[in-house]
């Protein structure tokens, strides 16, 4: 349904005076999402997770240039098509109630989503009430303002905004940080339900554990590139292909809790070769020559010349 290949995003910045410089923040990003599937996107901050969401919704700033291909439902996703589809065929579940209008009751806001999707105000209201019942929100919820919701209620209201639409693709941006485990599990099961209705779901998160609970596949981003796309069970069965993914998995507190030293390369000074090269224990001279291509290894995709089948 969604097919992103070799996506690149470059920002043009003014450096000094009229000197412009190019800042490449995303290089060679690949991702596919099928209908009925939850794909988790994990990676450190600054690895391009949020920019991907912004690109899909067409809300990148004016100084950004896109390269590569984004294909949604067999047709290329252009800026104009993004604008036409967002909120309708492509929907975002935002990170917090901070994204809602603080001066409008949540009932009116969620109803408005339906109306913007072409429903009459009465049908939208009925659908909203049905959606709130489905997510077991108390009957007084529509009259509440965003700040009056508890953490768990807020999550359910935000999921409702996506469930109200006919969206084929739902993007959930960091829906679970700092939440109680019960609320996390509940939010994730709502995402799974959206997928079971035949939608594609992209779950952007830092929480690998949460991602593995619900996702079919996990895409791992590093410094603006897709380093690996693995099945969720590859993590627990030790079938990971890329050294960064392996390091990320080992650094969990329930595993070795050992970090890899160093930082992601900064976007104004990207190396010629593999972006992970300076932190990699497998590194050889060959890694510095060129960026590795995405390869199909052991039923998953990996961007490393040393990964073996």
């Amino acid at each position: 349904m969604l097919n992103i290949s070799n996506l690149g995003i470059t920002f043009t910045q003014y450096d000094q005076g009229l000197h412009r410089k190019q800042l490449t923040v995303i290089t060679d990003l690949d991702l596919t999402v099928q209908a009925g599937e939850v794909v988790a996107v994990v990676g450190a901050s600054g690895s391009g997770k949020s920019l991907l969401a912004h690109a899909l919704l067409g809300i990148l700033p004016d100084n950004a240039q896109l390269s590569g291909m984004m294909v949604f439902q067999e047709k290329p996703l252009t800026q104009r098509r993004c604008e036409a589809l967002r909120g309708k065929a492509i929907s975002l579940i935002p990170q917090s109630v901070g994204y809602l209008d603080p001066l409008m009751t949540v009932g009116r806001q969620v109803q408005r989503v339906g109306q913007l999707n072409g429903l009459s105000s009465r049908t939208a209201k009925t659908l909203r009430n049905r959606t709130f019942v489905r997510y077991e929100l108390p009957s007084y919820t529509p009259k509440r303002y965003p700040f009056q919701l508890s953490g768990g209620m807020a999550r359910r209201v935000l999921v409702s905004t996506a469930a109200m639409t006919q969206a084929r693709l739902v993007i959930a941006d960091e829906p679970t940080p700092g939440l109680h485990p019960d609320v996390v599990t509940e939010t994730l099961s709502h995402l799974r339900e959206l997928a079971q209705e035949g939608r594609g779901v992209i779950l952007i998160t830092n929480d690998i554990e949460a991602a593995l609970q619900v996702a079919d596949r996990v895409a791992v981003f590093y410094a603006g590139t897709t380093v690996e796309i693995a099945d969720a069970q590859d993590f627990t069965t030790g079938n990971l292909r890329h050294p960064y993914t392996q390091a990320l998995w080992r650094s969990l507190p329930q595993n070795d809790f050992l970090p890899v030293p160093g930082n992601q390369p900064s976007s104004d000074n990207l190396p010629m070769g593999c972006l992970y090269g300076d932190r990699c224990s497998w590194g050889t001279a060959e890694c510095e020559k060129a960026r590795p291509e995405l390869r199909f290894v052991r039923q998953g995709w990996v961007r490393c010349i040393h990964a073996e089948g």
């Binding site: 600054g46 700092g178 998995w249 650094s251 507190p253």
Partner: protein, 224 residues
Amino acid sequence: MLKGEGLWFRYSAKLPWVVREQSITVMPGEVVGLVAPSGYGKTTLGKLLAGYLTPSHGRITLDEQPLPGRGYCPVQLVFQNPELSVNPRWRVDRILREEHPPQIHYLDALGIHPSWMTRYPHELSGGELQRVAIARVLNRNTRYLIADEMTAMLDANTQALIWQVVLSFARQYHVGIIVISHNQPLLQRICQQGHLPTERHIVNLVSDQQSSHRPASDVSITTS
């Protein structure tokens, strides 16, 4: 020893109690985990202990003395969200030099790049800025550290890096740490790294608001 005894707190006389009858003790060098569902007053308890809020009843003592009212507080609080805990109009080096500049090797260990020094907070990512906020408290005047969901918004690798540095700092200077977190594996991991014999006690962090419509559940404080 940092000690809170019989702490009660509410934001005004009309509002329900947020913290009711809580007591907590942390020894130098001890790592204590604090777990409770949201809304049970964990963060408020942390703010009381660090002197951000004054308890309605009860008292907080540091080595039998009340917390100092001015100057650098020996009990430091690190929040989940660094954007809200640094001055957005100060550059990174000024943020770090506000009180006691951290030693260079902590900056290196946290991966704080020298080029960040001239940047403003909004020019760093959340994970980068959180390292700055943590570096700020890693000095000898910090005796106790309260980490309120300190690494919840960070990736696993950065989380491991930060805790490695913070725990080695705590060992070196005998700093006591209270860790507020929902992440059970993390608590299991770091609360076991201390050198004191293992004991566990259970306290109830229940507030008026929750007890009416939620079953009172046990809240555990694990001590290492």
